[in-house]
Symmetry: C2
Subunit: 267 residues, 2 copies
C-alpha cells in the first residue's frame, strides 16, 4: 500500500512575532493538501512576560535554563496564548486544528535532562520510542490537524520545556513509519545559501554527497552545521526529505514548485 | 441500539486551587468507567497573575468584565497552565487526556456578547448548534479523554472567555444525542441541602415536582436557583441526569453508590 503524504512544518519566533507573517503563513499552511502537522516555538512574548514578572532569564554558557518560574511562563505562553491563538486563526481559515503539548494524548514523552556540568532545569529530552505514530495517526484520521507547542511531559505528571526543532524531527521520524513524511523548517532565509549575503544564491538540492562537498568548501559552517546534520539523521531514519525555507514562500509547495533547500538521499 | 454512557464533570476553583483536592479528584475521575469529559473553570491563579501584571479586575454591577488584557491572562492560565497541568496529571494516572479550548477541533463556537447596558468585553455566549456531537465522539472513540477549559472562539479567529458551567451543560445537551449523558457539577457542598448549615441534610433526589415544592418552601433560593433551573433545562433537552456533589466523593459513583443530589425526570 502506498503511504499517504504528511508534511510536518516547524515555525519559530520570526514567524510568530510578526502577526502579518503569521497570518500569511497560516493561510498557506491551510491550503496545503494532505495530512499536516504544525510545530511552533516560542518567540518574544515569553521573554517579555518573564521580564514583566521579574523572572531573570538564566543563561549558563550561553544556554537558557528553565527554572520552575520559567516553566510556568512557557506553559502559559506556548501552551496557552500562542498555541490557542494559532488554533483560532487556523479554524477561521477552515483548518480543523487542535492545539497540543506532548502531554496531550501522551504523544511525546521526555526525560528531564540529567545534571552533568550544567543543570538545565525543567528541560526534557525526547524519548523517541515514546512517540506512537498510530495514536497521532488516529487523531489526524479523525479529521484533526495537530498543532504542537514546545512543551512535553515525563509521564509522571511533570511538564517539560523541549526544543521545537527536535520535536518536529522526532515526530517526522516516528510518523515516517506510516506516512510519506516531509519535514519543513521555516526560518528567516530562503534556504541554504551559497553566499550568505546573497538571497539569490539559494542551493535548491543537497544530497549526502553534495553535503560533504559543501562542508569541505566551508560553504556550510557554524550555525547551519547542526541543523543539517540533524536533517540528514532524520532522512536516514526514514523521513523522505527535509526542506529549509522561508515561511512566506510556503505557498509554492502547494503549486508543486520548488521551495527552499531540499535535503534528501535522492539526486 | 443502546447508547453508551458518558459522564461530563465540571470542577471549579475550589478543586483546582487545592493541589491535594485536585490530585484526589483526578484519580477518581480516571477510575470512572465509560466515556468521560472534564470541564474546568479558573481559580485564583488568573486573578493573582492579573494583579501581578497590574491589570485591574473590572467589575460592573458585580459582574466581571473581560478586557483584552484579561483575555490574554485567562488564555494563558486556563488554556495553558491549568489545562496542561491537569492533562499531565491525568496522563500520570493512565488516563489518555487531551486538553482543549472550544477553538480546538472547532468544538464550541460562541458569539461575543452584544453590548446592551453593559459591555462584558471578550465574553462568548454559546451557539448550541455549533457543537457537533459526532466530532467530539470521534475524538473519544479514537481513545482520548477531552479536558475543556473555559475558553471558546467565534470561528473568526477571536478567542472568548466563557462560563465553565455553561460549557458543561451545552456539551451535555449536544452529546445526549449520541450518549446516555450524566452531567456532574462538583462544588463545595455535598449537594443540595435541606438545611444549608447541616451537611448531613443532603437531599438525594429531586424531580421536577419535588423541585417546585422545594422552591415553594424556600429551601432552594438565591444562588442555587439559576444552577438548578439550568440543570432542569439540560434534562428537558435530553440529559439523563444532573448530579450536584462534592468533588472528593466522586469515587462513590464508581461503586454505584449514591453521590450528591441527583436531578432527573425519574422518581
Amino acid at each position: 500500500m502506498t503511504k499517504q503524504e504528511l508534511h510536518i512544518i516547524k515555525i519559530g519566533g520570526n514567524v510568530i512575532d510578526n502577526s502579518e507573517n503569521l497570518h500569511h503563513f497560516l493561510k498557506d499552511f491551510t491550503a496545503l493538501d494532505g495530512y499536516k502537522i504544525l510545530v511552533h516555538g516560542g518567540g518574544k512574548v515569553a521573554t517579555q512576560l518573564s521580564e514583566t514578572l521579574g523572572i531573570d532569564s538564566k543563561l549558563v554558557d550561553g544556554r537558557r535554563i528553565t527554572d520552575i518560574q520559567t516553566l510556568r511562563v512557557v506553559t502559559m505562553v506556548y501552551g496557552g496564548l500562542i498555541n490557542k491563538n494559532i488554533v483560532a486563526q487556523l479554524q477561521r481559515f477552515g483548518n480543523n486544528a487542535i492545539g497540543l503539548t506532548g502531554a496531550d494524548g501522551n504523544f511525546i514523552r521526555t526525560k528531564k535532562r540529567p545534571v552533568k556540568t550544567i543543570d538545565y532545569g525543567f528541560v526534557g529530552d525526547i524519548d523517541q520510542r515514546s512517540i506512537d505514530p498510530k495514536s497521532i495517526g488516529r487523531l489526524m484520521e479523525a479529521g484533526f490537524t495537530p498543532v504542537f507547542c514546545a512543551i512535553t511531559h515525563d509521564g509522571q505528571g511533570q511538564l517539560l520545556n523541549t526544543n521545537a526543532d527536535t520535536i518536529a524531527s522526532a515526530l517526522a521520524v516516528a510518523l515516517s513509519e506510516l506516512y510519506e513524511t516531509t519535514l519543513i523548517y521555516c526560518f528567516e532565509k530562503k534556504g541554504v545559501l551559497q553566499d550568505i549575503n546573497d538571497e539569490e544564491s539559494l542551493i535548491r538540492d543537497i544530497d549526502p554527497h553534495r553535503y560533504e562537498e559543501l562542508k569541505k568548501q566551508q560553504i556550510i559552517h557554524s550555525g547551519m552545521l547542526p541543523k543539517l546534520d540533524n536533517a540528514f539523521t532524520a532522512i536516514n531514519c526514514g523521513v523522505k526529505a527535509v526542506i529549509i525555507g522561508k515561511s512566506d514562500e510556503l505557498g509554492q509547495l502547494k503549486h508543486k514548485q520548488a521551495f527552499g533547500t531540499r535535503l534528501s538521499n535522492k539526486r
